[in-house]
Symmetry: C2
Subunit: 346 residues, 2 copies
């Protein structure tokens, strides 16, 4: 495996994740494959529905590769969805225009054992992508972190106040723990499948980490994430894990210190000075340009980009947004960003 490791570590993304400070930061964008690209919209139309797109290897691979062809990011992220795990756990999942819909779960007794065979097409998609990627481009796999996946399963979709899932967690912590553990197991299986098929790093999206009290954050973010990362490290010690606890705010430092992740994704609200002084000395960072700035482009984007690189470019850093690319982002602005990054050698 020494040769394989050597090849891996040549890729800029993996070097940065290993703690190296590069001449220019490697970059990719959350939701870089998606609706802002006309070629994606055509593919989506061809697929019919979103889940078919995720579970048809040639379509998922094509969606993954589209932004790489246009913009040459340093990493592709597998086109997939965090709600494939609830689906493998036997829950009905559909995607409406205004977001995902699930049949709300109210008891851990209603969980079925995970059917990972259902997710086998994701492995096939990974193999296709690896075959189609330029040599220096890394492939990132991902899953939702257990808390965030639980919020969707219990709320039945997005939520404003998360009162259903929090009520369950407060009222019946043991039953909720069973749910979290069921999600953890399925997620470990899902990420293992991705890694065995060829992804070289994984990201855990904890999109709703920011709605919890510190005590609840400890129970439902730190603890399951730590267990999941430990299992991944035990089986795949060479695969870096990026944790993205969006909105974690005052809990970011604790998250970076306690979960065992190799790098932390920072959302737009994280002050750059805090990131540089309190997080980056401990762990490589990824983020956090406001996606709205990418939509707006021009001088506003350029100057914020320069500030970001000034603040974080002198340490281990991966350029990214603080959240996903907005659907109405002009692709030309992404091309401009690619030019800025190419010219951003220190």
């Amino acid at each position: 495996m020494a040769g394989k490791t050597a090849t891996r570590s040549d890729k800029p993304l993996l070097r940065a994740l290993a703690g190296e400070t590069l001449e220019r930061p490697p970059w990719w964008l959350m939701r870089q494959a998606g609706r802002y690209l006309p070629e994606y919209r055509a593919l989506r139309e061809k697929a019919g529905d979103f889940i078919t797109l995720c579970l048809t290897p040639e379509l998922a691979a094509e969606a993954t590769l589209q932004p790489i062809r246009r913009f040459g990011m340093d990493a592709a992220i597998l086109f997939s969805d965090i709600l494939l795990v609830p689906r493998a756990l036997g829950r009905r999942v559909s995607f409406e225009n205004d977001g995902p819909r699930l049949e709300p779960l109210s008891s851990s007794g209603d969980l079925r054992p995970a059917d990972l065979d259902m997710l086998a097409p994701v492995g096939a998609a990974v193999r296709r992508v690896r075959a189609g990627l330029p040599e220096a481009t890394a492939l990132i796999g991902f899953a939702g972190a257990p808390w965030t996946v639980a919020t969707y399963m219990v709320e039945g979709g997005s939520s404003r106040d998360f009162h259903r899932v929090k009520t369950w967690a407060y009222r019946e912590p043991r039953g909720f723990e069973e749910l979290i553990e069921g999600i953890c197991d399925a997620t470990f299986g899902f990420l293992s499948l991705q890694i065995e098929a060829g992804v070289e790093a994984v990201q855990l999206f904890d999109s709703w980490a920011g709605v919890l009290s510190a005590a609840a954050f400890e129970h439902w973010v730190i603890e399951p994430t730590s267990r999941l990362v430990a299992r991944l490290k035990d089986r795949f010690p060479q695969v870096p894990v990026i944790g993205f606890p969006r909105g974690a705010g005052l809990m970011y430092e604790r998250y970076a210190a306690a979960t065992g992740v190799d790098a932390v994704g920072i959302d737009t609200a994280v002050p750059l000075r805090f990131a540089r002084e309190c997080l980056q000395p401990r762990i490589p960072l990824q983020g956090n340009l406001d996606p709205v700035l990418l939509r707006v482009g021009g001088e506003a984007m350029t100057s914020a980009f320069a500030e970001l690189l000034e603040a974080l470019g002198a340490g281990p850093y991966i350029f990214n947004l603080g959240h996903g690319v907005l659907p109405d982002t002009p692709p030309e602005h992404v091309a401009e960003l690619a030019r800025l990054l190419t010219g951003a050698a220190r």
Copy 2:
């Protein structure tokens, strides 16, 4: 005015806002007047629509007083809405079941000068409430902070990613500044009207403070809030201002240090240790029990309540939630909270 000041300072809420640590913390709850109370639902039905309820003095006063009669909080908060300011600025505002709807504003040129006469019934409601309140109960007035009011005016309601309002702020900062200034002026007028009619403290709700980058937070939260607070202090030096920058996370310290507010409301995600060590030595605090715990009640609520008082009760502190009372909260849980607070003398 010395006699008036002396009377004011006897009220527990005002003593805590002045920095005193009380034997037991004074308390009130955000949205303590509202849908969880059957008598409120009856009143709302009688009023027909929400804005009529806000702008009919006897109805608004009755809604304000209902929770005080039942639970004896140390403060009443005027029954009103932060979207009365956009209405005074000539925007159409309606309330649907799933939240407020406004005609989205896209240019500061479409703003009319504020018509504060339209808000005169709010002053009449304040006078009625003052006449009906127990002697030791303080009356709090409020308004939305400029940034949060701007989000509703530009997005046309609640938002998931705030891309309209942020796009405007990034693309055309001067025009957006005019909007913020227009809101500031109207808000100063609205709060002045409330104070002149008899409210004894005011709260600024900055519900969407948490979605901004640090640089944008400085421009659109810190700066207008500081200006507004300075104007209020200039005209009403004796009236304390509570700032509630919900979700401000890593910017809470800066907010407490830079805006000139007398007290800071902390949301549920603020860790108690951080609040005690980094905020409370500088400023009185208010918050932050998870509203879901009040909905759940029982041991989960009782033990979290005890932890909260243990952490913050030894300094200047006002008990409250981290966000508003949820509509399906059993009123008995609020009664239980009142009993806990009455027994909470140190």
